[in-house]
């Protein structure tokens, strides 16, 4: 099962490597990991997408909670949640037909064309991983110059929140 773990942790040097080290030392899987500051400068927030049986996810959350730098943790998949991933994708758009096609696709997927040159379109897309993969699947493989994905970040639905 896929799980999204949202972690509030001390904004201290080495905190990221403690989490990453825990996953590698115990052989847990990391599908994606994002980290950034929060509105409180003493805290940073990390989102990890991982896979495993219920037992393994239980161990992962317990082991993460054991890290001194981890302040609070929430498995977003325990309830309704909103998840987003950002992708920037650079596409070869050499003729009108291709340009029209990418523009149309961007519209369908609620993306934006953020950079244009004579031969290239760069499209920005913020959506679920599933939708991002659907977008990639919809464009001609040969047209993709490069694609960069941020990894998943997420927030729980409604009143539920991960705060101090």
């Amino acid at each position: 099962m896929r799980h999204i773990l949202s972690i509030l942790m001390e904004n201290e040097a080495g905190a990221l490597s403690r989490v990453a080290g825990l996953f590698s030392a115990r052989g847990y899987n990391i599908e994606s990991l994002t980290v950034g500051p929060t509105e409180d400068p003493s805290l940073s927030r990390m989102t990890i997408v991982t896979r495993g049986s219920e037992e393994i996810i239980e161990q992962i959350t317990k082991q993460l909670n054991k890290l001194i730098d981890v302040v609070k943790l929430l498995d977003l998949c325990e309830g309704r949640h909103i998840e987003r991933e950002l992708m920037l994708i650079k596409l070869r758009a050499v003729n009108n037909e291709a340009r029209e096609e990418f523009k149309r696709l961007a519209e369908i997927f609620s993306g934006r064309i953020v950079d244009v040159t004579e031969e290239l379109y760069t499209i920005e897309l913020a959506d679920t991983s599933e939708r991002i993969e659907a977008f990639i699947g919809a464009v001609d493989k040969k047209a993709i110059i490069e694609a960069v994905r941020s990894g998943v970040t997420g927030i729980s639905h409604g009143d539920k929140s991960l705060t101090l």
Binding site: E10, G14, R18, A25, E55, Q59, K62, K66, I68, L164
Partner: protein, 564 residues
């Protein structure tokens, strides 16, 4: 008053009540060593290798319950300490390790004796710190001791760059500490405890299985009271020996790979398993698929991540062992439901039948010294009252099987990491803490050579440790596995070119004895015990191919033991 970082370290240790620091000087910690000079509050014990500093601090901690403190320099000082830090981590031993670091301006420059100590130790510490500002030093040390000694204890490394030990700041001992992300549980959940008690009262074939957590959590007294009140059988893990009196009728001996027949069979057949401060280690469970197939399991542990890690449990209780045991005792006393005495009687009858196999019996009639006999004799001669450290291998198992520990804190061994070289320095730490008690180190000719340089430390501090070397000229446990599982191909398990241990001991200024006949074992031990102020190295030439029995082969269940 303004103090330098180095002075703050020493002053802080004094204020924390630290009596001994085990360490070894070097460039990055010279300021701290200078601050140690000309003061008498904190005694520094100079070892001969940093690994021994950590093991000695560990032995001090295991035998007192207080945190062990280590001071080593940067680079190789820190890397040499890693084995001892990992040893303490695996066995949850409270320890604070202060490592010197190159000056902050040089960090990351591949400076002389630089190593990323925080990075290297990260996977084997409870937590670690790099102190970049002298203003944070006292508070960081406070946090280190707090983290090391509370919750599930463990080692904490504090890495201090040299310039931070020279910088000055106003020193105030931080009386309070709070870490918002670290709040160890202080008591168990009452609802869960009630559930557990109900299950305990319904048991027909109960079994109590306890580990190192009972020792670390100072729960031995409550455990003994509860076990006696219930009249239930009890087993201890290798780490838990001494938590319940080993000579008591209810004690079935150690369990696991080299546990007794009765303990393992009772585990396999019980219907309610009461696990306390134990972590279902693979050396205990054998094949987890076959582990306690008939039992409902109660598990008390302070660390939530220990619960349902290897074996799924029915009633988990997260909390300090002693607190939970006291709550259980209270409920059991109040309880109207009494365990079914007829069922318990039948269970005891079955256990006594298993016990009658006398699985630890050995043939001692020959004219070669049996290693088991040496340990038994040591037990007799010391009235079972010694602090006993061990190294790792066959002698460790024989020590655990044949020395009956009736008290906690007396059995010091590297159970989790299995570190050869642990025994002698751990004995030093215990002897520093208990100068008037008998401290024995049961070792082998392989293990002792991994930290033999510490004979010099024993000399310098006049530590009257009794070293019991069970010398079989083999790396015995490796040889045993090669005999059983590799058709007797003794690859590299043979110890060629052994030193003359008697002369070696004498060259360090100690007493050396070589004992070759069974009849000489007890007289030699008695003579050694009389030498109250001398380190005695006793080289017992034992049966070469004696094996440790019983044994559960890897992958088998607890009921599938090899008895002889």
């Amino acid at each position: 008053m303004e103090l330098t970082g180095a002075e703050i370290v020493v002053r802080y240790l004094k204020d924390e009540g630290v009596k001994f620091v085990f360490g070894y000087p070097g460039g990055a910690v010279l300021h701290i060593y200078d601050a140690l000079y000309n003061q008498e509050d904190v005694e520094h014990v100079l070892v001969r290798h940093e690994q021994a500093a950590t093991h000695a601090a560990d032995g001090y901690a295991r035998s007192t319950g207080k945190p062990g403190v280590v001071l080593v320099t940067s680079g190789p000082g820190a890397t040499n300490a890693v084995t001892g830090i990992a040893t303490a981590y695996m066995d949850s031993i409270p320890m604070v390790v202060i490592t010197g670091q190159v000056p902050t301006a040089l960090i990351g420059n591949d400076a002389f004796q630089e190593v990323d100590s925080v990075g290297i130790t990260r996977p084997c510490v409870k937590h670690n710190f790099l102190v970049k500002d002298v203003a944070d030093l006292a508070e960081t040390l406070k946090k280190a001791f707090y983290i090391a000694t509370t919750g599930r204890p463990g080692p904490v490394v504090v890495d201090i760059p040299k310039d931070v030990t020279a910088d000055k700041v106003e020193y105030v001992y931080p009386k309070k500490v709070s870490i918002r992300s670290y709040n160890p549980v202080v008591k168990g959940h009452l609802g869960q405890i009630k559930k557990a008690v109900a299950l305990i009262q319904q048991a027909r074939r109960p079994m109590i299985y306890t580990g190192g957590g009972v020792i670390l959590g100072r729960g031995a007294e409550s455990l003994t009271a509860m076990t006696r009140m219930l009249n239930y059988p009890i087993t201890n893990t290798l780490m838990g020996l001494g938590a319940y009196p080993a000579t008591d009728r209810q004690f079935l001996g150690m369990l696991g790979m080299h546990g007794t027949y009765e303990a393992n069979m009772a585990m396999h057949h019980c219907d309610v398993l009461i696990a306390i401060g134990a972590r279902f280690d693979d050396r205990v469970t054998g094949n987890v698929e076959k582990f306690c197939p008939h039992a409902q399991i109660i598990h008390v542990d302070i660390d939530p991540s220990s619960i349902s890690k290897n074996v799924k449990v029915d009633v988990p209780i997260v909390g300090p062992v002693d607190n939970v045991l006291k709550s259980m005792l209270k409920l059991l006393k109040e309880g109207k439901v009494k365990p079914d005495q007829a069922a318990l009687g039948a269970w005891w009858k079955q256990i006594e039948e298993w016990r009658a196999t006398e699985c630890l019996k050995y043939d001692g009639s020959g004219d070669i010294i049996k290693p088991q006999y040496v340990v038994e004799s040591l037990y007799q001669v010391t009235n079972g009252d010694a602090f006993v450290s061990s190294d790792v291998g066959q002698h460790q198992m024989w020590a655990a099987q044949y020395y009956k520990f009736n008290k906690p804190y007396r059995w010091l061994n590297s159970g989790g990491l299995g570190t050869m070289g642990f025994g002698l320095p751990a004995a030093m730490g215990a002897q520093m803490a208990h100068p008037d008690e008998t401290v024995a180190c049961i070792t082998g000719e392989g293990s002792i050579q991994m930290c033999i340089q510490e004979l010099a430390t024993c000399r310098q501090y006049g530590l009257p440790i009794k070293i019991i070397c069970l010398n079989n000229r083999y790396l015995g446990m490796v040889r045993q596995w090669q005999e059983f599982f590799y058709q007797g191909r003794y690859s590299m398990s043979y110890m060629d070119s052994l030193p003359d241990f008697v002369k070696l001991a004498e060259s360090y200024g100690h007493v050396g004895m070589k004992i070759e006949r069974p009849g000489d074992v007890v007289p030699a031990l008695e003579e050694a015990m009389k030498l109250k102020d001398r380190t005695v190295f006793m080289d017992f030439i034992t049966d070469r191919e004696e094996n440790v029995y019983p044994m559960i082969p890897a992958g088998a269940g607890l009921n599938e033991m090899i008895l002889v």
